[in-house]
């Protein structure tokens, strides 16, 4: 899924990798905000980080269903993950991170729904 084009039939492993990458991006966003805002309350951002981690781990212990629509959802998630990675060196503001992570968790949850 590196080129952003949805493949016809994503494998369990590739979708899990997308979910793991999203969770990792969320954690990096938290760490970036932590460094940029020493002593600030990051509880809201941490909650988003853990929501992304939970979505990944929920899928990790299940099996991917046969719905081909997962490919489109996976593409959107990968794009949102990349946006966060691109912003790691620029965004310092906590609320901006919360907005980006909120979108990421929504997309990850949609992808995870294909793991019945």
């Amino acid at each position: 899924m590196a080129n952003g084009q949805p493949s016809a039939q994503p494998t369990t492993e590739s979708v899990l990798a997308s979910l793991a990458a999203a969770a990792d991006a969320a954690r990096q966003a938290y760490m970036t905000a932590l460094q940029a805002n020493p002593g600030a309350d990051l509880s809201q951002l941490y909650a988003k980080e853990m929501a992304a981690a939970r979505v990944w781990s929920d899928a990790e212990v299940k099996a991917l269903g046969p719905d081909p629509a997962v490919a489109v959802a996976q593409t959107s998630l990968d794009a949102a993950t990349q946006v966060i990675r691109n912003e790691l060196s620029t965004i310092k503001n906590i609320s901006s991170w919360v907005t980006l992570l909120d979108n990421l968790v929504t997309l990850a949850t949609k992808v995870a729904s294909f793991f019945p």
Partner: protein
């Protein structure tokens, strides 16, 4: 050969050469001919038997060693998940999110992965016990011990397969007990028991391997490296930023080959210099990355070891020479990985 022998007269005087009668309506043999045939059969049987017993003992030793090493690696892999769970618990508490349902669910899922690893570990313990019992069979006829061990292996394999969502049915002849036959030539039948026991272990291996080879099983047993590394490092960095942890041990480890070590002022200097801190964090990431990479490598090497056992069983059953080269090399790699999996605090102790 199931002839009904009549009692053979035993010559007390070696000089007496009498013709003896063999089975009813059978041909006439001279005593000398009979002895010659018996000796020939004995030589052939003892040759095969000796080789089988020796090969069986060697395979048992190698198989037990391999399974025990695999089990050690899996146990260490499970330990790193304990570290992950502790880190998540700290991160949640630090962010005033102790009751966070996502953190709780995440920990439950990690515990499930850890439980699957535990079941895999039990399977490997039973495999090791089965090889040990095979060794007993080769050194002294211990069919009962083997039957118990293969029964346990079958049970643990079935439980593991269910845990990772790949249920199996082990053929009933695996647990039907080693074929025991009355001993005309005890060693010969002991060799046949070893071959039968070897075939039973091989059958279970042939069921385990496709399950472990399935990428879906792999993802259920190996947590994504970045998740393990990330959560642990997040806790460590937070604790350093709060003045709780010190980079001194990391600095000392880094400087050791050059004869350099940290000073009392090192942490204060790190705090003031973002580039130095970024460098040290990268060293920390590298260390945890190596540990989590070793989890995945251990899984793959264990699978390779199980595959390497198959041709050894086949050779044993065909009375062919056993080549332990591949298995020995894989076990050696597993031993190296076990060192990488050990927590830094216990290394060298």
């Amino acid at each position: 050969m199931n002839f009904a022998f009549r009692a053979l007269p035993i010559a007390q005087d070696a000089s007496v050469q009498r013709e003896i009668e063999l089975p009813d309506a059978g041909p006439q043999f001279s005593r000398r001919s009979l002895l010659l045939v018996a000796m020939l059969v004995g030589v052939v049987l003892s040759g095969c038997t000796g080789q089988t017993l020796t090969s069986g003992a060697s395979l048992a030793k190698a198989g037990q060693g391999a399974a025990t090493q695999m089990d050690q690696n899996i146990t260490l892999s499970g330990s790193s998940l304990t570290n992950l769970r502790q880190a998540v618990a700290f991160n949640a508490g630090f962010n005033n999110q102790v009751g966070n349902s996502d953190s709780a669910a995440f920990l439950v899922n990690i515990a499930t992965i850890q439980a699957n690893l535990g079941q895999y570990s039990k399977l490997l313990e039973s495999l090791s016990a089965s090889y040990s019992a095979l060794g007993d069979l080769a050194s002294y006829d211990a069919a009962g011990s083997f039957d118990t061990a293969i029964g346990n292996l079958t049970t643990d394999t079935t439980k593991f397969a269910s845990a990772v969502g790949s249920p199996i049915t082990v053929p009933s002849d695996v647990t039907s007990g080693v074929k025991q036959v009355g001993a005309f030539v005890i060693g010969y039948f002991q060799a046949e028991e070893i071959k039968d026991a070897s075939a039973k272990i091989e059958t279970v291996l042939e069921q385990i391997i496709p399950i472990l080879d399935n990428p879906a099983t792999r993802t259920k047993l190996i947590p994504v490296q970045t998740q393990v590394t990330g959560q642990i490092n997040q806790a460590a960095v937070t604790l350093f930023d709060e003045g709780i942890y010190s980079y001194d041990p990391l600095l000392d480890s880094l400087g050791a080959p050059l004869g350099m070590k940290s000073t009392a002022a090192s942490d204060a200097a790190v705090v003031k210099n973002q580039r130095v801190e970024a460098g040290l964090r990268n060293v920390m990431n590298e260390s945890t990355d190596a540990q989590t990479a070793a989890i995945a490598a251990s899984y793959d090497k264990s699978l390779a070891a199980l595959k390497a056992l198959l041709p050894l069983h086949e050779s044993l059953q065909k009375d062919a020479p056993l080549n332990f080269g591949t298995l020995t090399a894989i076990v050696s790699q597993l031993q190296s990985l076990a060192i990488a999996l050990e927590p830094a605090s216990t290394k060298g102790k």
